[in-house]
């Protein structure tokens, strides 16, 4: 080490000048913001619940079931997603569709989000493009395991993420929660 480094004092003062520089630069930006500037930013923090950054379009978020024009699920209960699911979190019960051109329709389509690993294989496997993970919803939590099971009706009610990258439909409230 050089003598200046061995003495430590010079290096310490240089370090403090660096941090003090950050302090005064950021403080100036905070002051400018308080005085009405829109562009000054004194911190890189995004204040999460109020402030959100747009999600990437390829983000895999909460699943939704795509609807036909009459509102019934596009899903034909072929069990591809249930088969491919590595976490085995999808549970489908098939039934007859009233329209004879369509073979089957799910009577139940439950996803246990407590087990789901968000790999997106179900979306890849689906031959009907009936399940997608594009709701942009990431905040689904529950106080019980039962509350993590999302049923067909809940999944059908969801809408794709908006053009600004924010969810357009509210998070479905599981049966065990009131709020």
């Amino acid at each position: 080490m050089r003598l200046g480094q061995r003495l430590y004092l010079v290096e310490a003062v240089q370090g403090m000048l660096l941090t003090a520089g950050h302090f005064f630069r950021n403080m100036g930006a905070h002051l400018a913001r308080a005085l009405g500037s829109r562009t000054a930013r004194g911190a890189v923090t995004i204040q999460y619940p109020e402030e959100r950054r747009a999600y990437s379009p390829r983000l895999r978020s909460l699943h939704r079931l795509v609807r036909r024009e009459d509102g019934s699920p596009r899903c034909v209960a072929c069990m591809m997603c249930e088969t491919v699911c590595p976490a085995r979190c999808i549970y489908i019960v098939a039934t007859e569709h009233p329209n004879p051109e369509i073979e089957k329709v799910p009577e139940r389509f439950d996803i246990d989000l407590g087990k789901c690993v968000f790999c997106g294989y179900c979306v890849e496997a689906c031959p009907e493009d009936a399940i997608r993970m594009d709701t942009g919803i990431l905040e689904f939590s529950s106080y019980s395991r039962l509350g993590m099971i999302y049923t067909k009706e809940m999944l059908l009610s969801l809408e794709p993420v908006g053009p600004d990258g924010r969810p357009t439909s509210p998070v479905p409230i599981p049966a065990d929660r009131t709020v």
Partner: protein
């Protein structure tokens, strides 16, 4: 009667100054570190939706500390275990008493010195109180009945000894310059002008002692970069067995010691309550201009200058705390005994030689 009122006023001022500043330091620490690191810092505590820049967080901390379980381990010494945090806070609180925060206040024809206690050995008193503070830490380490806490207390004692030696030796230069142990005299002495314009503050007359004192003073507060007594992030410190407000009191003692060291540095090296070129009757600028000021304005300016300088020193100490990483135990010992101590002896010799040469 007037004596009592003024004395009570001085004590109240010092008490409020130290306690409020100490309480506020938790907020300063959070916010200053955040702004230094391009963050925003704690701002979530709110009352009726008002956040006022996170100023409620100290309040929320206090409520949390006071309502937590006050746990005492089975093997702990009941009396000493409870006494230790009080000792720590008490000595940190009373240390500020003999630091002057203003010149004399004139009421009628009476004059009152603006400090809580007028002592002719004030400087020794402050160091005595600061050194006694470590007894609370050692007591906590011993009374916890926990080996890790005991080791933390030992580290605190070792650090305190190596820091106090350097503090004591570095201020001898200041005492030699001013020829007094009375803090008020030392601050008054710094009102002289060198070369007709430069205030003879300690940082000008004793630059080496200033650096040594500040370094040793930061070590005496037991905060980063000298926080191996506690080492909250990995090594376990002396208050490992404490919870609730007793733990909070140790944290508070650290902040109070920061205020005391900042006050000491201000009084000894930054001219205390001195405002440059302000005399008892107003400003006398070196270029000849004078501005006459009434007595109360002068006193207010002096008290304001003292408070501002203390805040500035606290800012610097916080800057150190959030810039430098912690010293290893042996590094801190080497710095204290092989760095600061010989340098302060050198400072004494140099000061003596200079004083001899200029014939003061």
């Amino acid at each position: 009667m007037l004596d009592f009122v003024v004395a009570a006023g001085c004590v109240t001022f010092v008490m409020m100054f130290v306690l409020n500043l100490g309480g506020l330091l938790t907020w300063v620490e959070r916010k200053q570190s955040a702004i230094m690191q391009d963050r925003i810092g704690a701002n979530r505590a709110s009352i009726f939706g008002f956040r006022i820049m996170g100023l409620f967080h100290p309040l929320a901390d206090a409520i949390k500390m006071l309502t937590k379980e006050d746990f005492r381990p089975a093997g702990a010494d009941r009396f000493l275990f409870t006494l230790a945090p009080f000792v720590s806070v008490f000595f940190a609180l009373v240390a500020f008493a003999s630091i002057p925060f203003g010149d004399t206040l004139r009421i009628g024809d009476r004059e009152f010195p603006l400090q809580a206690v007028t002592l002719n050995v004030g400087i020794l008193y402050v160091f005595a109180m600061l050194s006694l503070g470590v007894y609370g830490v050692m007591m906590a380490g011993w009374a916890s009945g926990n080996n890790y806490a005991l080791l933390g207390g030992q580290r605190a004692a070792a650090l305190m000894i190596s820091a106090e030696i350097a503090i004591g030796a570095s201020i001898i230069g200041v005492i030699m310059v001013h020829g007094s142990l009375n803090m008020q005299d030392i601050v008054r002495g710094q009102g002289r002008l060198l070369l007709g314009w430069l205030p003879a503050w300690g940082i000008v007359t004793q630059p080496l002692a200033f650096i040594l004192f500040l370094t040793a003073g930061i070590a005496a507060t037991k905060r980063i970069p000298f926080d191996m007594p506690e080492g909250e992030s990995e090594i376990i410190g002396y208050f490992v067995e404490y919870s609730g407000m007793k733990f909070g009191m140790f944290a508070m003692a650290d902040f109070l010691e920061t205020v005391v060291i900042a006050g000491m540095t201000t009084a000894l090296f930054l001219g205390g309550w001195q405002v440059p070129w302000l005399l008892a009757d107003g400003f006398h600028f070196p270029w000849g201009a004078t501005v006459a000021l009434p007595h109360l304005v002068v006193v207010a300016l002096q008290v304001g200058a003292f408070s501002l300088k203390v805040c500035l020193m606290i800012f610097v100490m916080m800057l150190v705390r959030w810039t430098l990483p912690r010293f290893r135990y042996d590094q801190a010992m080497r710095l204290g005994w092989l760095g600061l101590f010989p340098l302060s002896i050198l400072n004494i010799v140099l000061t003596g030689a200079v004083l001899l040469l200029i014939g003061a």
